[in-house]
């Protein structure tokens, strides 16, 4: 594989809360390969949204620790001054948010917003030129009559349309890395399927790097080349999508896959679940973070945090029992 676009090493992010210090991410290391679609799977409390927020440096004020490195073009982003990290947003990094209604400004027309967000990268371009790019991008994401639509406000679009506008906005920045945080959860299934197909086509055509954050294994399997499994703030497994889902190594990944409702399930069939609860990250247990829910746990698991070890060229898992 060529040099990855982004190298994250030992990223730790802690927050101050009323219950103590929440160690939301701990020693996260991963590579985002150029042109790859990387899926981050995680349930609530896994730290998946904090990971996205760390890349964009959109961390809340109760940040207690930000440690490790995020390397882009040989520079550690965490060492850059605030103004420089801000300059990366909308030029190198773009984000598709979960809820397009709150991400789009309700008092400006779509056209106005789609033109302005291109300014950072094209400061000298004429307004007419930027409008023309916006029209073309709206047409590409499947919005009919884009010239008229540019004059409309976000509330005049349906939920599926707004999500398309968000995707168009993110693509208009020509960013190297597109981060999508649960981009389809607010959408109905038939509209979600349209958006997923659209994202896949555009990713194939444009060839940027996509970081897709989702709790849906189905969505990740349809869109991603590589998968990162996060559990309670730490990477438990990474690997190429098909390999990881066909042959999961970590007990958490295996348990999560078993929770998927198979096609042959019918009424009254007992469904799988993972007993127990996600540990409180303000009071971390010693040893493996999954030990209290793991079916394969042995006493040694509760003593030391397992390292993320390599299993073959592209696979890694953090379990001492594999």
């Amino acid at each position: 594989m060529s040099e990855p676009l982004l190298k994250i090493r030992d990223l730790s992010v802690h927050f101050r809360t009323s219950h103590g210090i929440a160690q939301v991410l701990r020693n996260v290391s991963l590579d985002l390969g150029r042109g790859r679609a990387v899926g981050v799977v995680g349930e609530s409390g896994s730290g998946k949204s904090t990971l996205a927020a760390s890349l964009l440096r959109l961390l809340p004020a109760n940040l207690a620790l930000l440690d490790g490195t995020i390397e882009l073009d040989g520079r550690n982003l965490l060492d850059l001054p605030a103004a420089e990290t801000m300059a990366l947003r909308g030029t190198r990094f773009a984000m598709i948010f979960q809820d397009p209604m709150t991400a789009l400004n309700p008092v400006f027309t779509i056209g106005n917003q789609l033109v302005e967000l291109q300014r950072a990268k094209r400061p000298t371009a004429s307004k007419a030129e930027l409008r023309e790019r916006a029209v073309q991008m709206l047409a590409r994401v499947g919005i009919a009559d884009p010239i008229r639509r540019l004059e409309q406000y976000p509330h005049e679009f349906s939920g599926g349309m707004r999500q398309r506008v968000m995707i168009a906005a993110a693509l208009l920045t020509d960013a190297d890395l597109l981060i999508a945080d649960e981009p389809t959860t607010a959408l109905d299934p038939t509209i979600e399927a349209q958006i997923v197909a659209l994202m896949r086509t555009l990713h194939d055509e444009i060839g940027g790097t996509l970081l897709l954050i989702s709790h849906s294994l189905g969505l990740i399997s349809q869109l991603c080349d590589d998968v990162v499994v996060l559990y309670a703030g730490t990477v438990v497994e990474t690997g190429p999508m098909a390999e990881l889902f066909r042959n999961p190594l970590h007990p958490y990944t295996r348990a999560l896959i078993a929770c998927e409702i198979a096609d042959d399930v019918t009424r009254g069939d007992k469904l799988a679940s993972i007993p127990g609860e996600v540990p409180d990250v303000t009071r971390l247990p010693p040893g493996c973070i999954f030990a209290n829910r793991c079916p394969d746990v042995v006493p040694a698991c509760r003593e030391a945090v397992p390292e993320l070890r390599a299993f073959g060229p592209d696979r890694r898992a953090a379990c001492s029992r594999i």
Partner: protein
Amino acid sequence: MQPDLVQIQDATVAFGRVKAVDAASLAIQPGETVGLIGESGSGKSTLARLLVDLVRPSAGQVRFDGRDLATLDGPARRAYRRDAQMIFQDPVASLSPRMTIGRLLAEPLQIHGLDRAQAWPGVLELLRRVGLPETVLGKYPHQVSGGQARRVGIARALVLRPRLVVADEPTAGLDVSVQGDLVNLMTELQRDFGLTYLLVSHNLNVVRAMADRFAVMYLGQLIEVGPAQTIFTAPAHPYTQALIAATPRLDPDRTQSHTLLAGEIPNPNDLPPGCRFQTRCPLADAHCRAVEPPETLLGDGRTVRCHKPLV
């Protein structure tokens, strides 16, 4: 065959010019689970609310145990309100933040004038059955986990020992690792308490694990109703087919076929002429665009509203 517990007959619920439910008919047998599926704005929550008397039909009837709800007098209506309970989508939002879980569970008894001391052992038993420790009784809804709050919502719905439970998106927003537990619990409770369920969801996988029959809604109309297994393996309405195909599944080999729908759901204020699905239907022709399809009974017992059913 037993008499139906619930019969909705040509029920319409109009909000201004919009008919959220438009001449819908659906019967539910005692002990059965009907899964009501549809996208947001299809009217599924309004139809569900008809069954618990939270909305009333502007035309048509809702019958419970053979009696038209519109004709129930005071005591009969109270009795019916005990018999039909609802589990709300967001348990934390639907439970008062100022009451402890103990008080929340006692409140239905009080409203219905039941003796608390006499009923309380049953409440504690119910608490145990839904898998909650007695220590939650002194806590407030926001102090328990999302999965526990759902269980409180279920226990509260069952305190009065209802016959019909309407569950609106009971697993929405839950992590997959706990979703299975909740579905299993609801299945067990149905068996133990002889419950009849109307399950409202847009998650087809969860509905499939629970329902005997599916009822599919689109823009206020029931467009396909029949046995769950039959509909899931061979949908008759093109919309049902698209909905099944669109349900994301874990598919590392990427073998899932994608019959994608084009277009968006029409505005309910401005319905197209003819079939309501014609703007997105791959099979629509001139007839579909002009004439609204009637509800048709197919040979296998299901009803479908389509000029060109797939089976």
